[in-house]
Amino acid sequence: MREESLKLRPYLDEVGVMIGLEIHVQLNKLNTKIFCGCPLDYHDDGPNTHTCPVCLGLPGSLPVINRKAVEYSIKVGLALNCSIEEHTQFYRKNYYYPDLPKGFQITQYDYPIASSGYINIEGEDGEVRIRINRAHMEEDPGRLVHEGGSIERSKYTLIDYNRSGVALLEIVTEPDIRSPKEARRFLDKLRNILGYLDVVDTTLEGSMRVDANISLSGGSRSEVKNISSHKGAERALLFEIVRQKNLLRRGGKVVQETRHFDEARGVTVSLRTKEEAHDYRYFPEADLVSLRVADWAPGIAKTLPELPDARRQRFITHYSITDDHAKSLTSEKQVADFYEQVAAEVDPKLAAVWIADVLKGELNYRDLGIDAFASASMVQLVKLLAGDKITEQSGVEVIRTILDEGGTPDEVVAAKGLLKAGSDLVTAAVEEVISENPGAVEDYQNGKQEAVNFLMGQVMKKTKGRADAKEVRKMIIQRI
């Protein structure tokens, strides 16, 4: 991989795309909010049921830092190869908005919890390093509920403070990303790492919210807010590249501004320009004391699980599988765990092929997670394949049947009669097909190779697919 001259990493195209991301990660696996004891299990309850004087910002209330939130943040920081500051400090970011009950957000500014890290991703032209500028802790504001849908059409807006005070970790990258696809890969990789750390349930809505900064050819950048999915990030950035390109082509100038991503329409809309930008008047939050966290880091480092990159390397060396398979198998923690359970019982290479190349595809097609398929079933299936009991074609059918109808491989094989046909039966079928199709035989003898395929198909039909195709082909050629 290229470690050298990161800043000089060439643009991928003539327009010189530079993208930096800010990702708000909700530490929703904590039990309580960041500055009070309100529980986080509010998703099934009514609005404003998980609140107290602190997260409602009532006069006189004071924040107290959630120790676990700091530990989780350090954990993420270490996993992103960041250095953990000696001291960490909270600041107030002053702005007015109805979802912000104190009129300021408690966040970090100088002395963030983690800084100067990186993540390696599969870039457009090989593995690349995307640098992390910093990761800092802050509180989530409340949630605005516009009655009647969008903010423009609604008659009034309700505020739900259940989300107010949920711990966020904002991860800020350097502008090292060179294309929308790389942005998406970065986000996927980040989600994968967070999944390994067990600090975020990324399936919950709003658990990873993205703001993207993008500029072309070193020009002014626009910041796109309100991106809620990785696909959305890719689409928003593609739109921005086209918009900025067209603007430049028409002789216009890109102005520094904040834009809003309209997910439904797939476009970005200007929110405010630099002149209208807020002056947040950051200053230290005196209600929270500076935390000396340098001593926490070594202990937390010991609790770090094996991360995707390391696991991938181990899979390659320990199981002797290909890099592509290792990458695919470690791209989600649950899949990697599944693979290791299977690989412990059967041939790891065969297991890798069937999980990475077949099972994952079938799951994706059905929008299912790995938990839809039992590892014991995969063990059974790989054993059947390794013992030459069923054909590869039957193997695929077994997986599809289990996913669609349930059952175990043994049950499916028995019910569908998928056990490989005996050699007598296959030989008989070959003989029959040859005598029934003299024309095809003649074609082959006249040099028409495709005729064999026709004959094979006939044999497979007679054996109901239970014959090994390669074997059949060999037998036919020998015979004619």
Partner: protein
């Protein structure tokens, strides 16, 4: 004035209900506009429930500055913007008081959001000084000191951001303590300048003040700046200053110091010398920068602390609904008084991009220098003694139209808040019938030594026995 021991005796002789009921009568008859809210409805029932209570303040009436949250009792900060706001929770100090058996009789007048030195910025009108109703009681805890001086209640709580307990204690001839930052939980105290302020006890004498302090001090996990402190401060009530070294900072005797005040303070130093203490002059060279630094920091913090008052969830509401921006602006335009707006605007300016280095960050540097002044001065001494206020109480209306002159009156009290050390003010003389306050400052967390010094001074003088004639 009323003491706690008199009150406890009266409860013994009659009942807590009787004592509290008399207290309410006095408050309602008050000519000094000391209260904003009297907790009339609930108070007799609560008093009845203290029968058999063994807490140190069982049945004793206490009044609370109106910026301390009291569950079920309106808490306004003397501002229109919080009119009708009834907190759903008690401040830490209120929990402590209730556990000790004290009866909350009502909420005291103050400068709006504690921004003032005279209690003239209150939306509910000024409090009058019981010693002379043409003068101010000091501020911002003017209601707290005046109600004690007027003999309405034996105990009161104030808060001190830049002198707001000590100034009115000085002007009203009572005893008030600004504890070390962190000794009393601020949970429930509505912030004006949160890095500077502490809740402080006010009473008619050092022993009562200490008793109250003892009840409300102590660690609270809901305030991250809270520290454990001492177990029993009343052990410091000892009539003995032998061997004590007093520092007298000459910078606290500067321009504008009233001659009578200067004489009373020096007399007090000499009185303590007679009682076995020694004194020496100390230098605190950065004192002259304290006032400017204080106001920059306090206003900056205020601009942020007061941002939450938007009329959306509690307090003042507009009659008609508007969009959010209009509502927000209109509520704040109508709800805040002139001095509060001035401080929010100046604080916002001081924190703005391009000005922050020049004002806020520079003020923080001065703050560090002031802290070092105290550390140095208190290295060779045990306590520092100085006038609390440069003058006795001034006339109502005399300074309110000239904010800068009014700010200057805080010159001797703000350094204490910048450094975080404890400081007590107690009466040490009179000038034309108006009390003079003696300020005794100590080391961080060394309340015991300033309490002992104050107690010894009080035991050997009779200023605390004088009270205004309240007819």
């Amino acid at each position: 004035m009323i003491t706690v021991s008199q009150t406890l005796e009266a409860i013994q002789d009659s009942s807590a209900e009787e004592v509290v009921s008399q207290c309410i009568d006095r408050i309602e008859a008050s000519k000094f506009n000391t209260f904003i809210t009297v907790a009339k409805e609930s108070v007799l029932e609560v008093a009845g429930e203290t029968e058999g209570h063994t807490g140190p303040l069982a049945g004793v009436p206490i009044a609370i500055k109106d910026n301390i949250s009291t569950k079920g009792i309106q808490t306004t900060c003397a501002s229109r913007i919080l009119g009708g706001y009834v907190p759903p929770y008690d401040a830490h100090v209120i929990e402590r008081l209730k556990a000790a058996g004290a009866i909350i009789v009502g909420k005291l007048n103050m400068d709006e959001f504690a921004m003032g030195t005279s209690t003239e910025t209150s939306h509910y009108g000024p409090t009058l000084n019981p010693w002379n109703t043409e003068t101010v009681p000091g501020g911002s805890s003017g209601g707290s000191a005046a109600t004690i001086a007027a003999g309405e209640v034996p105990l009161a709580l104030g808060s001190d951001t830049g002198g707001s307990v000590r100034c009115p204690a000085s002007f009203c001839g009572v005893v008030g303590l600004k504890p070390t930052y962190g000794v009393i939980s601020r949970y429930g105290l509505i912030s004006y300048a949160n890095s500077l302020e502490q809740i402080g006890p006010i009473a008619s004498n050092v022993a009562d003040m200490t008793l109250l302090f003892n009840v409300i001090a102590g660690h609270d996990q809901r305030d991250s700046t809270s520290v454990p402190g001492e177990k029993d401060y009343t052990k410091a009530l000892v009539d003995d200053v032998k061997g004590l070294t007093i520092g007298v900072p000459k910078e606290y005797f500067g321009d504008g110091l009233d001659q009578a005040v200067e004489k009373s303070v020096w007399d007090s130093v000499h009185r303590l010398e007679d009682l076995g203490a020694s004194w020496q002059e100390v230098e605190m060279p950065h004192t002259k920068y304290a006032l400017a630094a204080y106001y920059v920091i306090a206003m900056s913090e205020a601009s942020s602390n007061l941002a939450r008052f938007d009329g959306m969830r509690y307090g003042l509401r507009l009659e008609k609904d508007h969009d959010w921006h209009t509502t927000y602006s209109e509520i704040r335009a109508q709800g805040f008084g002139e001095e509060v707006k001035r401080r929010i605007l100046l604080g916002t300016y001081a924190l703005s991009a391009g000005y922050m280095d020049k004002y806020y960050l520079k003020a923080l540097k001065v703050r560090t220098l002031i802290k070092q002044d105290f550390e140095r001065a208190l290295k060779s001494t045990d306590v520092l003694i100085a006038p609390t206020m440069p003058t006795p109480a001034f006339k109502l209306g005399e300074k309110i139209s000239d904010p800068l002159t009014l700010y200057m009156a805080d010159v001797n009290t703000v350094p204490v808040n910048l450094s975080g050390v404890p400081s007590v003010s107690l009466p040490c003389g009179f000038s034309d019938g108006l009390p003079i306050g003696l300020q005794i400052m100590g080391k961080h967390f060394d309340e015991k030594t300033i309490i002992r010094t104050a107690y010894t001074f009080e035991q050997n003088t009779n200023f605390h026995t004088k009270a205004p004639e309240v007819v």
